[in-house]
Amino acid sequence: MYRYDVIDKTLVNERVAQFRDQTQRFLAGELSDEEFRHLRLRNGLYLQRHAPMLRVAIPYGLLSSAQLRALGGIARRYDRGYGHFTTRQNIQFNWPKLEQVPDILAELAEVEMHAIQTSGNCIRNTTSDHLAGVTPDELEDPRPWCELIRQWSTFHPEFTYLPRKFKIAVTGAAQDRAASQVHDVGVHIVRGPAGELGFEILAGGGLGRTPIIGQVVREFLPRQHLLSYLEAILRVYNLEGRRDNLQKARIKILVRSLGIEEFRRRVEAQWELIRGSGLNVDDAQIARLKGFFTPPAYRSLENTEPSIGKSVAFQAWYRYNTVAHKVPGYRAVYVSLKKPDVAPGDITDSQMELVADLADRYSFGEVRVTHTQNLLLADVEQGDIFALWQNLERAGLATPNIGTLTDMICCPGLDFCSLANAGSIDVAKLINDRFDDYDYLYDLGELEIKMSGCMNACGHHHVGHIGILGVDKSGEEWYQITIGGAAGVDASLGQVIGPSVKKADVAETIARLLEIYVEQRQPEERFLDTVRRLGVKPFKERVYAAPLAA
């Protein structure tokens, strides 16, 4: 993985000093709430419902065991013993004290971490495929490019006060595991006309109040021009994006109002002016960055079948929580953070330390965060998988549900977030209570439930096969249900099935949607495929045919 040099270290330490000074000036009354808000947000610090929330950056979701251990220690000493992984592959602490945040940042800096640009109207953490470098279906490992973008976007002097936040995702595989089409910019590694590798560039995707699938700005961009092209897009957006209305300030609104052709024309015109600048990256420099992401020292092994002769529990976990690896004899292993009685994405201090230890023992000391709020040990020898499972199982980290109904994406909701209209963690709990029969879950197959406590869509509800959106109705928590959304290569936005339902009726609503699926599905058809084939109508009819109240 990428390791800091003296320049990275210096910059992060200087940031800690800068933020310490800003915090002290705020506490001394020299900065107003509004002035400090703009400064703290660019350092991941929200002041919300109960306490400040600090969001720590995990560039493209990659952590060393030492970093994860440090996060565990911070959770124990500065928080209430846990952290929450997010859909941007970051981690949030919900209970730090404002005056201690500079100390937390100083501890993070010691393990090459920070909270720079994890919130605010600037370029956020670049996300990527959690199977980067190990998945068999990859053209090229996207992480060196992510690191290049991380560096370029960090403290970018021109783009720190954008109209609105700006999110970039990079993928290099046939499958899109980073939801890149619903990002402000999606970067896809593709082959060009002569077979050379370069990028397809999308812009204008996003969720929130106005969900839009990104459109192609450029079908093929030669690789050395990645940063100059991104800079051209950002400059057009910074100058032209709306600033009069927060709800219309994302780049997706600009792209939609100009039309993709006119947007492209402006970007290309700007790019022509800067494409020869110092932003060009030559092959030697890319090779240097790639050197940080070389494969670990894999042993020469044969593929085996670790589940033969093992318990049914292990077999189920193995089937759902491990995936194929491009190197024979290895698997990638999910650490499920979707235990039924725990808030999705939450992990305790001691669990973090345990996963760090397991990473050292079984997966070359690295851990990845998935955008679906789980962890991944990417390089586990098949012969070690049973022992790894035993360790995870004892710690409550082996819920065998990856890719199933209970592997829900969920924002912190009303329990923590001051933006939320409604709870989401408690709805996840109600869904878990209702759907506790694993035979039924496995029979349903691949099913993505995504839940947000408000229109900001941190839980990606628009692109859930089933999406759940919390809405406030005269002070009561209600939920709007959508079906047919997807975040992958076949990205689509879910359609609302009808009037929103009460909290107590969410699980029953989902049960009725699934009844139609089970009755109507064709062989090998996922819930999503059935919705696409039949449309919303039969699902809607079933949900509202009889009173919902339990």
């Binding site: 210096t10 200087e14 509004e34 400064l39 560096q151 002097p157 006060y161 990256v281």
Partner: protein, 169 residues
């Protein structure tokens, strides 16, 4: 009392006057609004005045490009703590229109923005008195940069190179 400014790293008295404050003068250094320049050009363009111009956030740099040589100073106005268009205006002025005069940040300008403003090409800053004391330190907040921009002297981290050094591709 003249306004105090941070200009080229020094705290100085402002030797420019905004046009609204220049009534009664017959010559001097005056900063015009875009509207004044467009509607009263004859009044100011006689050679007695050193001219400056204020760009508001929504103004396009291109709209004054033909007249750029007439201005010794261009000020970009920041309307509030979240306003960011001036950063791009500054880079476009410096890098694409080769503006060599004084580039001033006006409006909501605080020490916490100075480092980025300076990197984008601003060389003078209208700061509130409370922020002037910390301004020098703010200009050296960071010792390195990850991306090329307008500043001389700040070491760049590879893989990027300073502007003007051609890339091999």
């Amino acid at each position: 009392m003249p306004r105090r400014l941070l200009r080229d790293g020094l705290i100085v008295d402002d030797d420019w006057t905004y046009a609204a404050d220049a009534q009664g003068h017959a010559a001097g250094s005056v900063i015009l609004s875009l509207t004044q320049w467009q509607t009263e050009r004859d009044k100011w363009d006689g050679g007695k005045w050193r001219l400056g111009l204020v760009l508001l956030p929504a103004h396009k740099v291109e709209s004054v490009a033909d007249d750029m040589s007439r201005f010794e100073l261009i000020a970009a106005e920041f309307s509030g703590p979240g306003e960011g268009r001036g950063y791009s205006q500054a880079r476009v002025l410096r890098e694409q229109w080769n503006f060599k005069g004084e580039l001033r940040a006006t409006g909501y300008v605080r020490r916490d923005q100075l480092f980025f403003m300076a990197r984008c090409g601003f060389n003078s800053f209208e700061l509130p008195d409370a922020d002037i004391a910390g301004a020098h330190a703010a200009l050296s907040t960071f010792s390195f940069a990850y991306q090329p921009s307008n500043d001389a002297g700040l070491a760049l981290k590879l893989p990027l190179r300073p502007p003007g050094i051609p890339a091999s591709a």
